[in-house]
Symmetry: C2
Subunit: 357 residues, 2 copies
DNA sequence: TTATGCGATGTTTACGCAAACATCGGTGTC
DNA sequence: GACACCGATGTTTGCGTAAACATCGCATAA
């Protein structure tokens, strides 16, 4: 294996206990001494207080610069009682949705002057979640946002630290928490209707994993829409969100005689599905129509370009941050679910069924 | 001048600021009172000190539970001088590499008992970066990791807060910082060699954006490998990492007469390229071979499955965390670059050139 | 002139925690 | 029995900051 090239830097200093001798940081008092003012004046300059005369201000600023002063956020937080930081607890960064939502959260938070601390949970097990929440309790965070299937929060052993505001994404816990979510049902209905409107007799479903609330909702809405239209629901095929699982499912669906349309619970699985259908010689959309969910940027480049349901992750993230900050400011927990609408993006994987054959 | 000075003494924060009336949190003293011990004993229980008799411990624990006590991390950090938090500054969560690296960082950090605070920079401009670093200086972090093109750190206006340890990814700043990076050159060489070995006369390159250090390195190594082999380098085509840009590039490359092999700087662009080639009726790999870079999970489901260079983001993330923690503990900044090896994953987009035609 | 007001700055204090030191009973040793 | 020792717990102190309150001096009003 390639040996890591490692050019050396400064020699490591002799003895240095783990967190031993932390160099004493420059404090307000040091700055004050150098500037010849009181530390309170330094504080005022530091916080942009208006009642500091310009000359003094400049002097303090100069002293700060000379000493390389950086305010100590621990002390500040201790005084003010807030960290200006939001915690985000999530399972994985491997799903598009989570990543995009996190991205939106981070940028909304930054806009409000808040930083975002990540609290990844290695595995969706009770133990892991409980551990994460224990750590959360000690984290330097004012409030937090949970992105996960909330049924894992349901047991008595895992409880949110009291007095900490929280907002949840991707969950059905609207009766206990404030939830923001994509309109899974609405999006699904659009997808299924689109296929039915094209003339397909029914629509098959490539579902996401059982543990996922979003997957569950999409599957339920798919069935409900078919039922409303008086159609039969074929047995859903289950994947795990990955393209690989979509491929496996596709190999099976390709051989289903009556299958002319598939609604796939996310775009990655749709990619795998397209791959399998292609391999099996089933033309899309001529033989089989496919609709995805998410509208990842790559969807437009699938072969053929994927018709899918667009999710507005940015909006979800924004609403999550707004919601949690509102709760934080009013100190009043909220409940209820806010749905963010979806949009059907028609590309090239859907067409009327090939009735000729 | 008519200065609109408010007649009142106290400055702006008179009413209901964001941080209005924070409910006083339960402190050690409260727990101590209820448990009938001193606050120091509560502290000892809280930190698992061994010299507390079991009966006392249980009593304190009970009091903690009853009151819903949570240690105040600000006070703790103020005392101990460390937050046990790492800051990560990055431009975007929209590239696979950044996300996967971040994921690895977060999990490695968690493993070491550190949390990760995100510091997204909206745009790669000097102003934005400067702003981010200013905020960083006040952030509750012990050290940080920079994932970005470091030339933006080069101007005098942007300087890392002194005394804060830092490690950089995706950069060539090994002479000033500790850098961890994928072996871009090695991976590229593997890709180009693979194509040449198959018999292609030369290899075209679909490059990433100019601002990206990784893109630059890949382009340089591509050219160098061709030169070494005594081949001509066709003019590189530039994309922006997106599948869309790969598609546009593909439309052009499809019409290049001598083009039988393309090395694409990432998998997303390769996806777009495949799409364009398919549309133009150019068969892959019969007419044109394609090699990507990254090995995203979806690459195996492309049509056809993509031959690509696998990057070990997990390892990069791990090394970043290890490096920054080592610096933190020894209080000694390091320099030099550590390279993480890549691996060629051969799937179905490469084949010998179609010499018949 | 003296009183008054107010702007600029200094002094005190408390935030919650944990290290350092102090105390207080009991045990073992001679 | 006096003393040293030790384990369990209490008391004091200070981390860096910023609110609250105090002070000082100058300008304007009476």
């Amino acid at each position: 294996m390639a040996e890591p090239v490692d050019s050396e830097g400064s020699p490591s200093p002799p003895a240095a206990g783990p967190a031993a001798r932390r160099v004493r940081r420059v404090s307000m008092a040091d700055v004050a001494r150098l500037a010849g003012v009181s530390s309170q004046t330094v504080s005022r300059v530091s916080n942009g207080h208006p009642t500091v005369v310009e000359a003094t201000r400049l002097q303090v600023l100069a002293a700060m610069k000379e000493l390389g002063y950086r305010p100590n956020s621990a002390a500040r937080a201790l005084k003010s009682g807030e960290f200006r930081t939001l915690g985000v607890i999530l399972f994985t960064l491997s799903t598009t949705g989570n990543v995009r939502t996190l991205e939106a959260i981070a940028s909304s938070a930054a806009h409000e002057g808040y930083a975002v601390t990540l609290l990844p949970v290695a595995a969706p097990t009770q133990d892991e979640v409980r551990g994460a929440f224990t750590r959360l309790g000690e984290l330097a965070v004012d409030a937090f946002i949970v992105i996960m299937e909330v049924h894992l929060l349901d047991t008595a052993t895992v409880s949110l630290p009291p007095g900490v505001q929280v907002v949840v994404a991707d969950s059905d816990a609207g009766d206990r928490y404030s939830v923001v979510d994509t309109d899974q049902a609405g999006g699904t209905r659009e997808a299924v209707r689109h296929l039915l409107d094209l003339g397909h007799r029914t629509v098959w479903h490539l579902a996401g994993p059982k543990e996922s609330f979003a997957a569950q909702r999409r599957a339920d809405a798919w069935r409900a829409t078919l039922t409303e239209a008086g159609r039969e629901s074929p047995p859903p095929v289950r994947g795990d969100w990955s393209a690989e699982s979509g491929y496996r499912a596709g190999l099976r669906l390709a051989d289903e005689p009556g299958c002319t349309a598939v609604f796939t619970a996310n775009d990655q699985m749709a990619l795998g599905l397209l791959h399998a259908l292609h391999e099996k010689g089933r033309a899309v959309p001529e033989d089989i129509s496919v609709v995805g969910f998410d509208d990842i940027p790559e969807a437009a480049s699938f072969i053929p370009p994927l018709t899918t349901i667009h999710q507005d992750f940015a909006q979800v993230g924004r609403l999550l941050v707004e919601g949690v900050l509102r709760q934080l400011r009013t100190d009043a927990p909220e409940r209820g679910t806010t749905l963010v609408p979806t949009r059907l993006v028609i590309r090239s994987t859907t067409a009327p069924p090939n009735t000729g054959s």
